[in-house]
Symmetry: D2
Subunit: 296 residues, 4 copies
Amino acid sequence: MTQARSIAFIGLGIMGLPMATNLVRAGHRVSGYNLTPEPIQKLAAEGGRAATSIADAVRGADTVITMVPDSPDVEAALLAEDGVYAHAEPGALVIDMSTIRPDVARAVAAAGHEKGFRVLDAPVSGGEAGAIEAKLSIMVGGDPEVFAEAEPLFRVLGTTPVHVGPSGAGQTVKAANQLIVAGNIQLVAEALVFLEAHGVDTEAGLKVLNGGLAGSTVLTRKGDAMRARGFEPGFRIALHDKDMKIVTTAAREAGVAIPLGALVAQFVGALKAQGHGGLDHSALLKIVEQLSTKEG
Amino acid sequence: MTQARSIAFIGLGIMGLPMATNLVRAGHRVSGYNLTPEPIQKLAAEGGRAATSIADAVRGADTVITMVPDSPDVEAALLAEDGVYAHAEPGALVIDMSTIRPDVARAVAAAGHEKGFRVLDAPVSGGEAGAIEAKLSIMVGGDPEVFAEAEPLFRVLGTTPVHVGPSGAGQTVKAANQLIVAGNIQLVAEALVFLEAHGVDTEAGLKVLNGGLAGSTVLTRKGDAMRARGFEPGFRIALHDKDMKIVTTAAREAGVAIPLGALVAQFVGALKAQGHGGLDHSALLKIVEQLSTKEG
Amino acid sequence: MTQARSIAFIGLGIMGLPMATNLVRAGHRVSGYNLTPEPIQKLAAEGGRAATSIADAVRGADTVITMVPDSPDVEAALLAEDGVYAHAEPGALVIDMSTIRPDVARAVAAAGHEKGFRVLDAPVSGGEAGAIEAKLSIMVGGDPEVFAEAEPLFRVLGTTPVHVGPSGAGQTVKAANQLIVAGNIQLVAEALVFLEAHGVDTEAGLKVLNGGLAGSTVLTRKGDAMRARGFEPGFRIALHDKDMKIVTTAAREAGVAIPLGALVAQFVGALKAQGHGGLDHSALLKIVEQLSTKEG
Amino acid sequence: MTQARSIAFIGLGIMGLPMATNLVRAGHRVSGYNLTPEPIQKLAAEGGRAATSIADAVRGADTVITMVPDSPDVEAALLAEDGVYAHAEPGALVIDMSTIRPDVARAVAAAGHEKGFRVLDAPVSGGEAGAIEAKLSIMVGGDPEVFAEAEPLFRVLGTTPVHVGPSGAGQTVKAANQLIVAGNIQLVAEALVFLEAHGVDTEAGLKVLNGGLAGSTVLTRKGDAMRARGFEPGFRIALHDKDMKIVTTAAREAGVAIPLGALVAQFVGALKAQGHGGLDHSALLKIVEQLSTKEG
């Protein structure tokens, strides 16, 4: 076991609760706080401490982890009067594991550094299953020595923590991840509908595709579900839509053209507009079908 | 070893010559023919028989394999007066391993069936390295029993022969393969230029991307070369451009929309128009750079 | 009136019949032929001569006009044993006004020149209304002197005959026309659905848009119908789909990237695949709606 | 002449100075303020009053017009402590003619209404030439009665003031305008490079295109300059890039897919990233050329 730490965990949602639970099980002291009380009780039942506020959670903690939905939530959790920076112990290690805008990550890191905290951005990939099974990929931005200190914690949560650069770099890599994933799902969807229209045996077809240069984790994990039109999440379109906004905005700010990314972002947004925000992102297949088949 | 067959191999190019050589080494009798004489002599030096024409090559052969650049070449090799169908032994097994249009594959199969031949379309994926190392993926269309007969031969040439449907299905799957590969390279290129512009450590970044849902064979095989701008082929843009024409045409004929595929086809064509047809298809990165950076 | 000519008109469809009729009314001798007899009788009722075959139609004619659906139809009408080149008077003026592939236009012109005919490609824009009202735009490729000879005839059929270059140039300009038109309809559709979603008065909105740099003939002629979802043709999606194939192929052959054109071609094809091939091309609005709204 | 008003004009840039000058010439009392002093002196030389601050400019004015670069500038000019709302006469008519985000237009209108002002958003189209020649298109959002009061002023500045809906509607229509304009320029660029590659006489070609359904104000105003590669602004890429961000964001918020708009936005951004932000937006032609031609 790694050295036991005292951790405040802010944000016990579909991802945060199993992550906090894994930290408890690894022997760490974890106080949890969430906007709604139910998951706090669940964490307490696992051996964590139920906190009544962020201020309560961070008291005595050497480490603070935030895992909340979006950029404004991170800003609120860290910067507000009742937030982390106002109440955490001097010099605490603050790790934001939410998926947010790289520029916001840089800004909240700078604000934390000014107050003497050590701050990392450490978004994850792998979904609810990865959180439960502690198999998350973790992409980390910030000071390399701070990363080294946090690495044992990351290894409790996932299999691949990687330091990718200075503050914000973790979020930048996560944005690139979402670009590739959405695009690759769309490509598999186009290929699958194409194969079906030509009467190909798609079980065999996807298998041979996955064995060659077209192979991908998307094909491995999503191929069969896409063949069966099973779109229960997994990772929801509504969240991927938020992430496509992040990557298109961050690419624009960097002066980088992402034509395929921008186009697939339109299709992710279309699915959401159609009311399919709750489906898995592999439901991009529905867009290809709509554009390809006779109306019923 | 599989049962020794007598094979005519038509088309001894960058792919065909190592494939024919592997068949010789596996104990088969192979007579080779090519439009230029040099590779015929190389095959003879490996123990094959140097044929002076298609008619000469197919004499006495129970199996004929064609491996030529494009649809018209296959039509010429099979259908012409001096071609395979006019001179092959009655009932011979004819396997076209070129990458061509699915409708042409169906047409030449039908023409062969009419003359009593057994015909398969069996395009491959894996490139020159795959051909040399006998690690090709092979996607096969045609009669399942004919596939079963040919399977031992395919296992000499590659690791994953898969029967995917009736005549033309092999070419359809190959077309889908080329769609996914081009799109995935473009996505990786967009992500990589984006990460570079943000100052991310791209070696670590691509590693963590490849460990998650964004992971792919493209990242594994091409990621480092793309970081280093090493674009020696591999698989040339000029060929991928031909293949993108095949898949966009076949999708149109089937009434299937492939918007990402159609867009990346424009970029593959642009690279070729710029005079980069001889570079590896990972040179799509150059398009992203052109669209993203200040002129020198 | 221009000097009376003796004209064979091959192809009396939705465009050809009113064009041939206008030539009769202008005082020319017109013999008409069509694959189905009904329009031949209609032309005869207007004062034309009902021909029983292409050979019959071209007998004694100094001018032959073809107006048929697609490239293979032109090849059949001109090149076949019972076609124009085999039976027309020596040195006749042959004008193909169909919309076909530029390379086919060049090929049939070359074949005609070899036999001593003078050949122009002269596709039109303006639709059925333009044909009836003799307000077609006519874009003409071929020898400038031959164009000068034919110009009086063109002025019977339309208001803007323009010589744009050598053989095939007329078809190339027509292809460019179809690219711009499809793209512009799609842009107006995206703008209109966007304005509706924001609760803007779209009648006033389109009016002010049409008064500025966004103004276009598409807005003038199609804007109100698009607001009212009136998609009766006009110019049918099925034909525009054929034309988008022509322009994407011709652009590829010339090494020219047309990313917007290629993308809108996917949407035109999608509408056709959905069974809307018989609607006006302004029905591209349906694609934008599908990608934007909740399912019913 | 319309009834003389007392007008404060905030923002005397490339557009604002000629607009304010036209108001002076029409007999209105105009006090002008700008962040840099030079244009204030120019306006004074035309008979305006040189103001030393926003507070100074709005003193005694029944009407305030703002014409500044972007959303934050409008927020600063209207909402800041030293801004319009803090110092303008009670009940003044406030007209923002900048091009900004529709949601910001709605927000500043609401803030103004709360303080008793009457507020319109009234962005313009037509560029510097339109401002000088008083030929602007003006798209106006807000209360219809307030529009009626302001209409005589608008007629001093342009030829087509149109009321298009409630607060923000003017900006929404302007956003749609920029979407169509960018897309249409790109389509003309694709068509032009395509025609050149095929050796067509493009002067004649563009003329005949402009006479048919492909006709547009873009072709009329920009076609010849694009043929000649004359890219002096006109309307600069850097501003159009800002506007494409507005329309893509506003479309996303409304759940409307704009695939062509999103794609051309990438190319506008690419031009800016290449350092061409100062060129006219017709320089999108450079992108098509880059994607189509051999490197020198």
